[in-house]
Amino acid sequence: MMMQMEDKGCSLVARLTGEMDLQVADHLRSALDSAMGEKGTRYLVLDLSGVSFIDSSGLGVILGRYRRLAQSGGRVSLVGLSPPVKNVLELSGLLRIMREYSSAGEALAGLE
């Protein structure tokens, strides 16, 4: 799993690459939490265009960040869902509580 973070004021754009499963969940969770804590992130934009696989361990990381931000009125937006990843996100109901955008730019615009 590779991770690139881009700080945009209240928003953090995180670009993930690889497979979101139990192997990377712990590391991913703490990397996201520490970046969000440092920057006082309110809106998290997850760019998953490099993610080829997700299972419930990966969903758990996303849902956990959502819960954390939702407490303080924040939000998680999703970008770049490949068909298999979107399939799992839809089935899990995550796409009912988070919006999908076609690019990080649109996601950031949608937050304003």
């Binding site: 499963d21 139990l22 696989f53 361990s57 068909p83 298999p84 399939n87 799992v88």
Partner: protein, 166 residues
């Protein structure tokens, strides 16, 4: 642990057309291997890529459960994953010899309260496969049998490759 009875998808006493077993240690680093091996095995079928992706998720859930709940993250225990092709259906069996649970009273998802526990493992397995049978008993380990219907004569052969004009 009782035997996993034949269910909706499978007919009794049918011989597998092809079969493989992979044994791996209970380490998250081996999850990718389990998924890749099962997908590579079933790619001999004339199956849709989207179905292979769903099978990978089901395998990943079952093996993750064995690591987390069966072996409580002990890293040196064995998990076996068997994949088999029958006429008309495919079968995946994931087995651990860990904690197990009471079949009559299956624990609710996320019941062991791990952080961010999503509690969707069995739900995803059930969404992506036609039949999921759990065989477990406390202290006896767990066997998850997953079956999926496939189109009848769907073997890919060198003469009749999945995608090809050979």
């Amino acid at each position: 642990m009782t035997d996993a009875g034949r269910g909706v998808v499978a007919s009794p006493d049918t011989k597998a057309i092809n079969r493989m077993t992979i044994s791996l240690l209970s380490q998250p680093v081996n999850l990718g291997l389990a998924r890749v091996a099962v997908a590579a095995f079933f790619s001999q079928l004339d199956i849709m890529v989207s179905e292979l992706e769903e099978i990978k998720v089901a395998v990943s859930e079952a093996v993750s459960n064995a690591i987390l709940h069966g072996y409580l993250r002990e890293p040196d225990r064995w998990i076996t994953v068997t994949a088999a092709i029958y006429p008309g259906w495919l079968e995946i069996v994931v087995e651990d010899r860990g904690e197990g649970f009471c079949e009559a009273d299956p624990p609710p998802p996320g019941s062991d309260g791990h952080e961010d526990g999503f509690g969707m493992g069995f739900a995803l397995m059930r969404s992506f496969m036609d039949e999921v049978v759990l065989v477990s008993a406390p202290g006896q380990g767990t066997r998850v049998v997953m079956r999926k219907k496939i189109r009848g004569a769907s073997m890919a052969t060198p003469e009749n490759p999945v995608a090809g004009n050979c």
